[in-house]
Amino acid sequence: MDSLIPQLLTGLAGASSLFLVASGLTIIFGVTRIVNFSHGSLMMLGAYIGWSILTRLPRDPEWFVLGILLTVLATALIGVVLEVVVLRRVYRAPELFQLLATFGVVLVLQDVTLWIWGAVELPLPRPRWLRGFVEIAGNRFPFYDLILIFVGPVVLGLLWLLMNRTRWGTLVRAATLDREMVAALGVNQRTLFTSVFALGAGLAGLGGALSLPNASANLNIDLSIITDAFVVVVVGGLGSLPGAFLASLLIGILQAFGIVLVPKITLVLVFLVMAVVLVFRPNGLMGRPQAEAREATAAAPVIRPAPRELRILGLVALVLAAAAPLVAGEYYLTVLTDACVAVIFATSLHFMMGPGGMASFGHAAWFGIGAYAAGLLMQWLGAPMPVGLLAAPILAGIVAALFGWFVVRLSGVYLSMLTLAFAQIVWAISFQWVEVTGGDNGLLGLWPPEWARNPATFYWIALALAVSVALLLRRALYAPYGYALRAARDSAMRAQSIGLDVKRLRMVALVIAGAACGLAGAIFSYSKGGIFPTYISIPHSVEALLMVLLGGLQTVAGPIIGALVYTGLADILVRSTDLWRLVLGTVIVLLVVAFPEGIAGAARRLWLRGREA
């Protein structure tokens, strides 16, 4: 019993740290509607900048506070630069493109940080006062953690004052509720957005700098903190500061006691909390429903049958692809096989995301489930490749149907975040449940049978499957079901009023997308000879988004083009430079700025120039 209080206090300190990062994210989202993937990178920069400043200052408390404030200013400034240089140019693009741009920023900042501060983690040497403790219930409790416990509520209070007692704050709150209205009121939206981004970045920097006495500045902060911050923001309700605070408390405390009670599943616990909260409160603890009209503002262009020229082009590409083994070397065949897998990966995501209107941030989950289905069947029953290729989509489809029950009742970013949470749960199971999944060592020895082992043969199999899946999905999109799915996305209200079952339409889309993606996972596993948790990682899910968005969300050919371009680009970059993240990130940002409707979308626009859509 005597450890109850220290554990609770530890949870509160953790909650404060979480809140600092989540508050900035939620403010930025509330006003700009940007899902800022680079928020974790800003926190990482905060930690590194804080380290650089604090190690140069005297080690007394007052200098520590000054150093922290300087860090906050510096990260706020970086936020301003980011906003002005990148994000300002993409506000008019569809919401998800902004996400893509921020992911490009993540990649760039990883290399920039490595280049400036080096590879080795940098802990801040702690002066005596930072190592102090107080005796609580017979346990030593760190003095600094006590400070942290108070920082959270203090920051919440200051933010509350800022939001409720200043004109700027009133504008921010109004913009959170209704962005168009504020624009109509003649407020300078640019300045407002820039200042909001600066505030959010500053808060991330504060979180990073204040983490220094307990942790080091290291290169893994960005992606490990961003998922936690997303969870807090979503559980609290997007755009809600008190919600973010409440959610931080809930998760911080649950984490502290979860470690004692169920030490092995703490990773999953957080995401389970999020899933449960979203089931009962689809807009988070304190979030408001997003107005439906908002989502439908930018009408998608009409999908017409492909023009003859495009069909011929496609046919030529297909013939070339089929003839590739005659000219390409063995390595290029494996790259082409990867491209085939990427095509299924991207088209399946496009199916639910474009026509279905459900943007998944966790599409890699289905990829992984399909892969593990094939792998475990082989391991337990010795199932050969054809059985694996059949079982993968079936199992992925079944899981998608179960998961769909939760998903189809959500919309917008909440839906995306639930898919992210689900993918993280699947990832955690594959990574931590070593007895069954082999953990990060993976399942090995999953090779094609003798007759398909030749790279050319296997490539042809992958090509045939990819083309079949792409054509089947395309066919479904031009059939009544695909139209109905699109109808439900265009206007759920109208769809219901002509008798369409919106939830069931979306559910089936999820099952189809999940099953197709599961097949991609199985093909990929046979071509790599094994299955690893990295198949389900967040970056892999983001890759699927990248391919779809790069190619273009609103054309059927888009995801295919995106998959090919991305696979080729990544392969060339990884082999030619250690700075591939910098280059890839920059290319992504440039593409988003130059082609906000994707490559295929831009081509379509050029093609249609002078004609009516």
Binding site: A215, A256, G529
Partner: protein
């Protein structure tokens, strides 16, 4: 149009370049190396430096079989699937003779699967997982570094000498952490039936909630702690543990903590008196090591890290294996590497014929503070061959097809 043509020509020219080089003269032995350069830079960058040093030194001595060594490195970004693809590129496109590398266990296993499937030679440097040479071992895979089992075994032996009976474990929750705890418990329990394990903590890798973890361990009132955390997790854990007094009057036995990669960042908070495996760096005063460390320092103006030792030894082991085989033909190289002896800065080592495990040893010692920096003291080097289980046990674990 002319521009497109120039682009195409430019591209094919670049691709053809290695081929030209090869045709022109000395016909180098090409080593294709894959590692997590962007996702694990702290370990892999010193490692790559040392590999380059070794290649230079060997070439200065006239190379291997009269041919120079050539090293081509690739970044797997921490993803086994990318490593497999790049292995294909290195073999099929770059025509390498030997595949080497990997830091992460899963990358190592993926490459070893690739090697077995395509009948190519793969020499793993860093990966620790036991599976690589035992359960999933195969004919074409060799592994240099002392494995999880070897590191856990020597620590369990040291732990058995301690009076402590109430143990707790803290370990990142994934295969490496779980294996380390499994071996440690098994070996320590066998030696000391009176020992009991009263609590275990399994923080997620890279996301330790250090305060809560330390508090939970404290609650179990242990007499000793077995730690497997490393990297940023270790830093957080040590800081919270120091402040909360977790390590006071308690024995701590800790995997890899003596490696400068993990000890240096702890700075003046480096724990004192922990029993650890690791690498004492420039404190190792054998002539071989001194020469190596001086050369490394001269070339890179940095102190050699544990990764450097591994990278340097890896290249030396490959040179020795190829020299013994007398050819770069794969099947002959497999036979050549079996039992091949090679020099490392730590001492001579061999690739065992029975399981392809290298006998590079383990430094075990205590941590201490010297001029506000963590160092290893009272250390000794234990030859890897003395840390491995008996041949019968090994044969039982390794698939028959691997021979």
């Amino acid at each position: 149009m002319p521009m497109t043509r120039r682009l195409v020509l430019g591209a094919s020219g670049a691709l053809a370049l290695p081929g030209l080089l090869r045709a022109q003269g000395s016909n180098p032995i090409r080593i294709g190396e894959i590692n997590s350069y962007t996702s694990q830079p702290a370990f892999t960058l010193p490692y790559r430096n040392a590999m380059q040093l070794a290649v230079e030194q060997i070439n200065a001595r006239g190379g291997v079989l009269g041919r120079p060594l050539e090293l081509i490195t690739r970044d797997d970004a921490g993803r086994p699937q990318d490593a497999v693809r790049l292995a294909g590129e290195l073999y099929n496109d770059q025509k390498v003779d030997v595949l080497a590398g990997a830091f992460l266990s899963n990358v190592g296993l993926a490459l070893s699967e690739y090697a077995a499937q395509n009948k190519r030679l793969y020499i793993g440097g860093e990966p620790l997982t036991d599976a690589m040479v035992w359960e999933r071992g195969n004919r074409y895979t060799f592994r240099l570094r002392p494995s999880t089992y070897m590191q856990a075994a020597i620590l369990a032996e040291e732990a058995a000498k301690l009076p402590a009976k109430r143990w707790v474990t803290v370990s990142p929750n994934y295969e490496y952490g779980q294996s380390a705890v499994k071996w440690f418990r098994q070996i320590l329990s066998a030696k000391r039936p009176d020992v009991q394990f009263v609590a275990e903590q399994w923080p997620a890798l890279g996301r330790v909630d250090a305060g809560a973890t330390v508090q939970a361990l404290e609650q179990a009132r242990p007499e000793a702690i077995f730690n497997v955390l490393f990297g940023p997790d270790l830093t957080n854990f040590v800081r919270q543990g120091n402040t909360r007094g977790l390590f006071e009057r308690r024995a701590v036995v800790s995997m890899l903590t003596g490696e400068p990669e993990y000890l240096d960042p702890l700075g003046d908070e480096a724990p004192e008196g922990w029993t650890v495996t690791g690498y004492p760096g420039e404190l190792v005063d054998t002539p071989a090591h001194k020469t190596y460390a001086a050369a490394y320092r001269q070339k890179f103006n940095a102190k050699p890290m544990c990764g450097s030792l591994v990278g340097y030894s890896l290249i030396n082991s490959i040179a020795a294996g190829v020299a013994k085989a007398g050819t770069t033909e794969t099947e002959k190289m497999v036979e050549g590497f079996r039992g091949a002896s090679f020099d490392t800065p730590a001492g001579q080592a061999t690739y065992r014929a029975i399981d392809h495990q290298g006998t590079l040893g383990v430094y075990v010692g205590k941590t201490a503070l010297r001029r506000n920096e963590g160092v290893m003291v009272d250390w000794r080097y234990i030859d890897g061959k003395d840390l491995l289980p008996g041949d019968d046990v090994v044969r039982g674990m390794r698939p028959a097809s691997a021979n």
